[in-house]
Symmetry: C2
Subunit: 215 residues, 2 copies
Amino acid sequence: MDRKVEQTAETRRDPRRGRTRRALLDAALELVEKKDNFTALSLRLVARKAGVVPTAFYRHFPDMDALGLALVDESFRTLRQLMRDVRAAGVPHKQAINSSVQTYIRYVRTNTRHFQFVAKERFSGSQSIRNAIRQEIRLFTSELATDLSRIPLLAKTSAEDLQMMASLMVNNMTSLTEQVLDIPAEDVAEELFLARMAEKQLRLIFLGAASWRSK
Amino acid sequence: MDRKVEQTAETRRDPRRGRTRRALLDAALELVEKKDNFTALSLRLVARKAGVVPTAFYRHFPDMDALGLALVDESFRTLRQLMRDVRAAGVPHKQAINSSVQTYIRYVRTNTRHFQFVAKERFSGSQSIRNAIRQEIRLFTSELATDLSRIPLLAKTSAEDLQMMASLMVNNMTSLTEQVLDIPAEDVAEELFLARMAEKQLRLIFLGAASWRSK
DNA sequence: CCATCATGTCAACACCTGTACACAAAATAA
DNA sequence: TTATTTTGTGTACAGGTGTTGACATGATGG
C-alpha cells in the first residue's frame, strides 16, 4: 500500500512525468562532469540538455536547488545500498579489508557521476545542499560506529571513541573516493596504487584502535 | 637583489597597482564567503565590490581563473609559514599533539577566508585551480613525510609507508579544517569538541604507526 | 465520449554577463 | 617642463539568465 502511494506520487498518472524528471536529473549529472560545478549550471542549460524548454523545468522542480537536493538523495540512496550489501557479507575481518576496498572502488567507478556530484557540492554547494550532504555523512558515520561496536576487540570502547574511529575511517574513505575520481578510468596502475595505500591506512587505523583501550 | 626585482614586478612603479590588485583579491575572498563558490563569482561582481569599473579588472588579471590561481598561491604561502613555525618549535612529541591542534585551529580561525576558498575550490574549482591546489597538498604531504622520517620510532619505515602515514594525517587535518569552518566562530564548545576529537585521532594514528613496523 | 488536469511550448520581460574600443587621468622618465 | 607608459573610465554590443503568462497537447477518470 505504502509503495503504491509512493509510486503514484512519484509518477503521477502521466508516464512523461517520470521520463523528463529523470532526463533533467541525468542532464544535471552529466553537465556537472563537463562544467566545474552544480552551482555553475543554469536552469536553461539543464533543460536544454534534457531536451525540454526552460519553462518545463518548473513542472518538476521549483528551482535548481530542489533538483540538487534530489540528486543528494539519490546519491546516498545508492551508497546506503552498498553499505547494506557489505553488512550482509559480515563484519570485516582483517582479511576482508583488501577486498572491501576494492569492492568500494569498483562501486565508485560505476557510480562516478553521483560521487563526483557529492564531492563537488559537499563544500561549495548552496547552503541547503551542503547541509543535506553533511547530514547524510553524519548518519553514515554513526551507522559505521555501531558496526564497530559489534567487533569484539572494541566492545569496551566508549561511544565517543567509537564515533571518533568511525569518522577517521569515513575521512579515509572520502579521501580515497576523491582521489579515485581524479584519475582517469583507464589508469588501472594508479588505481591499484591508491587501493594499496587505502588498505594500508585502514590497517594502520585498526592497529591503532586495537591498542587504544590501554589509554 | 632578488627581493627588489620581485617587488618591482609586483607593484611596478605605480602604487595604485598594488592597491587595486589587493582590493580585487580581497573582494573575491569576501564574496566567496557570501556566495557559494568562487566559480559562482562574476568578473563584474568582483570589480564592483573592489570599487572599480569592470574593465579595470583586466589591468591586473587576464581573467577570473588567474585571480583564482593567485588566491591559491596566497593561501598556501600562509600555510607554509605556519609549517615553518611549527617545525622551528621542534618535532611534535606526544605531549605536543594537543597544543599543535589548538595552534592550528587558531590559525584556521584567523585565516578563515583563505581556508574556506581552498576547501571550496579543491574539488569544484576550474581544472587549473584544482590542479594547483592538488599540487600544493601533495607537496605539503611530502614535506610532512620527511618530517616523520626524522622521528626515531619511524626511522626504519619505508618511504612509501611514510607517505601513507603523512597522507593519513593530512586527511585528518583537512577534515578538521573543514569542520572548523562549518561551525560559527562563537561556538567555542563545539570547537573544543572538534579539537579533542582531532587530537584523539592523531594519537590513534601515532599508536598505529608505532606498531606498524612489525608488519 | 467528454471534461479535466498534468505536462510541455512559445514569446516576452528585465537583468546580468564578458569583452572590445576609445578616451581620461595619473605617475614616471627624459 | 614634456613625452611616455600605466592604470582607470565610459560606452556599447551580443548573448545568456530566471521567471511570467497565455496557450497547446495529450493522457486520465467519469
